[in-house]
Amino acid sequence: MRSILECENLSKYYGTTKALDSITLSIPQGRITGLLGPNGSGKTTLIKICNDLLTPTKGKIRIGGFEPGVETKKIVSYLPEKTYLNNWMKVSELINFFKDFYTDFNTDKAYDMLSKLKIDANTRLKTLSKGTKEKVQLILVMSREAKLYLLDEPIGGVDPAARDYILETIIKNYSENASVIISTHLISDIERVLDDVIFLKDGQVILSKTVDEVRDESGKSIDALFREVFRC
């Protein structure tokens, strides 16, 4: 199986703190991977490095064969945990913005999802509620036909009812052969959609398996195993 993302001894230090400590990973094409770990385990740092928002201290990282940069940004669709929307555009203007910069952006798909979630494209971003803003961001990110989707806490800020819809949106809309990496600590909610899991602890990979392997070997759900491994 070809891999879309590869890390080799990837490290990131902030001063003396090791946010990522020599991580070696390979994410195959066409899989949904859960990047799981408690707060401060290095999930966001790893995802930021993948998006060229941070420079690694040591080690190598390749996405689709490229180091993070313009080439990888063309094929990576990223949902940060922060709301990055400005307050002066309308939703429709933001859709044009994405279409202008990303050649893989599917406008019809975006409008389709907007109407399903009953979001008016003529609304100014400023007037949207926090939850709606997150939905708009997810719609934009999932409307790209990218090779790799990096979703940082995609369900953290929305209510449980909306979580199911969001997960459904993710599963339905990621293109074939594309990979999805979902970082979260809300495991029970997303467990059913995952193919693979990676456990991060103190900047190190302590487990990297398929969901089936975990269930067969430990006889536990991912959520139960997570609670056991990360017991305080």
């Binding site: 930021k48 998006n51 060229d52 928002l53 941070l54 420079t55 313009v70 080439e71 940004k73 063309k74 990576v76 990223y78 940060p80 922060k82 709301t83 990055y84 929307l85 400005n86 002066w88 913005f97 202008d100 910069f101 990303y102």
Partner: protein
């Protein structure tokens, strides 16, 4: 890609500037009308009619006051937009979107710089136009003559080097702000305050280096002239050329430093 970035940058900033430009020109015209209105003419109102006198005074002072406030406001707004677009759109949460666009990071700096320059120049032109509007018609005819005088005095080369110097000073000023903000952003706390401190630091360094270089060049290049005026023009050109060169060197340094911080040291919150 740079063209696309600029398109959105202009859109994002135009909503601040266009209303300002329209209102400043409106008040310039209003003031002009008040000046030339016969009712506003002193002789039209008898000195006994104190009520009309007061009203006239209030209207003309108020409209002049608003005009002056707008004139100052246009430059304050330009400065604020230069700072805010860099700080908020690139280094704030919007940066998550901007820096994951398939665009090189130096293009973001160039984009911000070009659009900031565009508005600075347009603001200057609008301010200039508004002043032209206010100048009494009979004095307007003197402007071409005054311009010809200046042209004559400095010569074409003098005008060219002055314009080049002005544009480079603008670039230098904007990039210095960007560098200061980027440096301030390297700290975890008090980013804006530290950005301001960085600006003062950078400003002191560049002033000192400029002064020193110009002093050295001036000493080396001094030649006595029989005609004092001719000598002044000669040395003025020499001074400007040196200053232009220093400004260019500093601008390049600031651009490289800002680019390096953004590419390698950036950590968005």
């Amino acid at each position: 890609m740079l063209a696309k970035l600029m398109k959105y940058e202009i859109k994002a900033t135009a909503r601040w500037f266009l209303p300002l430009y329209v209102s400043i020109l409106f008040f310039a015209i209003l003031n002009k009308l008040i000046f030339i209105n016969p009712l506003m003419n002193k002789s039209a109102i008898s000195d006994n009619d104190s009520f009309l006198l007061i009203v006239r005074e209030i209207i003309s002072s108020l409209s002049m006051f608003i005009y002056v406030v707008l004139l100052i406001g246009i430059f304050v707004a330009t400065l604020i937009v230069v700072i805010q677009r860099f700080y908020k759109n690139l280094l704030g949460s919007e940066g998550y979107l901007m820096f994951t666009l398939p665009v090189k990071s130096w293009q973001h700096i160039i984009n911000k710089l070009f659009v900031a320059m565009l508005w600075s120049i347009v603001s200057l032109l609008v301010a200039f136009c508004s002043i032209i509007i206010l100048i009494p018609n009979k004095d307007l005819t003197k402007i071409p003559y005054a311009l010809a005088q200046i042209m004559d005095f400095f010569g074409t080369s003098g005008i060219v080097i002055t314009l080049l110097f002005a544009i480079l000073t603008l670039i230098h000023g904007i990039l210095k702000i960007y560098t200061a903000i980027s440096l301030g952003h390297l700290f975890n706390k008090h980013k804006l305050l530290l950005s301001f401190a960085m600006y003062l630091g950078l400003d002191t360094i560049s002033q000192f280096v400029s002064f020193l270089t110009i002093a050295i060049v001036a000493k080396a290049a001094f030649v006595p002239f029989d005609d004092i005026l001719e000598g002044a023009v000669h040395h003025f050109k020499y001074f400007l050329t040196t200053a232009t060169a220093i400004t260019a060197v500093f601008s390049v340094a600031y651009f490289i430093l800002t680019g390096f911080i953004i590419k390698r040291k950036l950590n968005l919150e």
